[in-house]
């Protein structure tokens, strides 16, 4: 290395004109000098990710083919648990009246999926105007930042506790019933708020709406005001501006927000227990239940199916919107 440097830099007699690297080795040398070696920078995190992310995921796949021995697992290569997953209480049972009835597990996956979709739509409808307000209507940067942080703070507090906080709101004597009675909408407290689909959806929307406000805000804030000004000068109506400019340009943010919410709700199980009273079985609770009775292979199959449906969902969202521009 010393030779190369000496040769390269003191080739001429007149001064020490640095010559550009000529050989591949020299070029490599030059590149390696700028910054720490890449290998050392990535090795610790890469090893960490392999141990705590890649290996656990692979082991779920492996364990899903093992047999359950009642208290543990034995190495095997069986599709027994996959069969059970699709077969249990219905689905392709010849001779059965409604032999296409999905199994309980598919139904629980389906209901998780359904809740995710409903909550995604509600979050978008509620969150988009907030992001729009912050990005377009608030002019001073300081206020923008302050109000945005105000919206994001709940994300940094415990969602378990935010779920608990819904109990005094939704109960039979909760604030919601009080409010509805005060407005003369109902005359008797209604019990369907807590431990119901309504309360559960409501709590999920409140817990996750900030996840879509953030990305949408960022993509809206990036829009050049001059474009909007130009469109306005040319006589475009508010709806035209939204349909032609703001809408399409904010799509990547919408997609990222939707992916966040979708992924979070698919893996959700704590809120279901707190606000829904554990009446529903989300895939998350199913997994935990089978873990509790030590049927690990079956828990693994459920987890894999969850993962698979999540990946399909994310791919679908990415197919609709190309977010690569955003990254």
């Amino acid at each position: 290395m010393v030779d190369q440097v000496v040769n390269g830099h003191h080739g001429g007699l007149i001064g020490s004109q640095p010559t550009p690297p000529t050989t591949a080795g020299e070029a490599k040398q030059f590149r390696r000098e700028a910054g720490f070696p890449t290998g050392w920078l990535i090795a610790p995190a890469a090893i960490w990710l392999i141990v705590f992310l890649v290996i656990p995921l692979i082991s779920i796949v492996v364990f899903s083919f093992w047999t359950s021995s009642g208290y543990g697992m034995e190495p095997d290569l069986t599709l027994h648990h996959y069969g059970e997953y699709f077969h249990n209480q219905g689905f392709f049972i010849p001779g059965d009246d409604n032999f296409l009835r999905p199994s309980v597990f598919i139904r629980s996956l389906g209901s998780t999926f359904y809740f995710a979709l409903v909550v995604m739509v509600l979050c978008l409808v509620i969150g988009y105007p907030i992001a729009y307000f912050l990005a377009m209507q608030v002019k001073s940067f300081k206020w923008q930042l302050a109000l945005f942080l105000l919206c994001m703070v709940p994300f940094w507090t415990s969602y378990l506790i935010r779920a608990v906080a819904w109990i005094p709101m939704l109960g039979r004597r909760g604030l919601f019933n009080k409010m509805l009675m005060g407005l003369d909408i109902i005359d008797k407290p209604i019990g369907i708020l807590l431990y119901s689909e309504f309360g559960y959806t409501m709590a999920l929307v409140q817990l996750y709406v900030v996840l879509c406000v953030g990305p949408i805000f960022f993509s809206l804030a990036k829009i050049d005001q001059a474009i909007l000004e130009a469109a306005r000068d040319m006589g475009a109506s508010i709806f035209q501006i939204f349909r032609e400019i703001i809408g399409p340009l904010s799509l990547p943010g919408v997609a990222i927000g939707m992916i966040f919410i979708f992924v979070m709700i698919m893996g959700e199980f704590a809120t279901a227990v707190v606000v829904y009273g554990g009446k529903t079985s989300t895939t998350g609770t199913v997994i935990l239940n089978y873990y509790a009775i030590a049927n690990y292979p079956f828990a693994a199959v459920n987890a894999l199916m969850l993962m698979l449906s999540m990946m399909i969902g994310v791919v679908v969202i990415l197919k609709i919107v190309d977010i690569r521009k955003e990254l």
Binding site: L57, I130, Q137, V210, L306
Partner: protein
């Protein structure tokens, strides 16, 4: 002239409408927490919903008594220590990774998506995978080993994205200038790079701390014999819900808010200094 004022009035109306909606939104996301906060001061014979039957510190006192909620102090301490360790690892790893990603290197795509997978894979999956694996191998899980591991997997993508954004706006010429003047890599990093990226490192640390401190799904099966605070909160929910839980929730939320405020203050100071 008249049209102009009408246009202006219309815009003012729109802005007012949005402001009202924004306030309603804030009530929606903060309302339940505030109700919980108020109810934690519920009178001795009051229940978990309104009306208040007097105002007292009874439930807060119950919270501090060791007998009622198990080992609360211990759980809080463990959560705190865990969050601090996760914070350190998140800040360190995301800084190192983002520095590596300033150059193209073979496998950078795979590494990028692996880091991002930490964000996408549901916590329950990692919990399950690692817990069953540890069971097979015969290593007992513990909050400072297995839970720490998956926590960092979860917080790293957030810190990494923050640091990637920081280096996107970073002026490498400053480093080159220092290098040209003969500084070695460590000196360049210590004297030039680090002071400039420090606000970002703090922000990455904030994600590490707060996300780990509140994490539940990734800890459920991996904490071992000692609970962290979210696990304790979850355990106390399986019993009859009493205002003690609200006091606990309020205390934990206030603590989170204090930590966020602390981070924001440190960030602001460092940001001003970096400029």
């Amino acid at each position: 002239m008249r049209r102009w004022t009408r246009e202006r009035r219309r815009r003012a109306w729109i802005k007012t409408g949005y402001s009202v909606y924004f306030v309603l939104f804030l009530i929606f996301i903060y309302g339940p927490m505030i109700a919980m906060f108020v109810l934690s001061f519920q009178g001795r014979r009051g229940g978990t919903s309104f009306p208040m039957r007097g105002v007292s510190l009874y439930w807060w006192e119950k919270l501090i008594e060791p007998s009622t909620v198990g080992d609360l102090q211990g759980a809080l301490l463990r959560s705190l220590v865990l969050a601090l360790i996760v914070m350190a690892f998140t800040a360190l790893f995301s800084t190192m990774l983002s520095m590596a990603f300033r150059k193209r290197f073979p496998g950078s795509g795979v590494l990028f998506y692996t880091v991002m997978a930490g964000l996408m894979v549901p916590g329950i999956l990692l919990s399950l995978g690692l817990a069953t694996l540890l069971k097979e191998v015969g290593i007992p899980p513990a909050w400072w080993s297995s839970a720490l591991g998956v926590h960092v997997v979860w917080t790293l993508p957030f810190g990494f994205l923050v640091m990637m954004a920081v280096f996107n706006r970073f002026d490498s010429r400053l480093e080159e200038a220092a290098r040209d003047m003969g500084a070695d890599e460590w000196t360049v990093f210590k004297e030039v790079t680090l002071p400039l990226i420090l606000p970002g490192v703090v922000a990455a640390g904030l994600f590490g701390f707060t996300l780990s401190y509140d994490e539940f799904a990734r800890t459920t099966l991996l904490a071992g014999e000692f609970n962290t605070l979210p696990l304790d909160i979850n355990a106390s929910m399986t019993q009859r819900i009493r205002p003690t839980l609200f006091a606990l929730g309020t205390a934990s939320t206030i603590f989170s808010l204090l930590m966020i405020a602390l981070f924001v203050i440190i960030y602001t100071i460092l940001y001003r200094r970096a400029r």
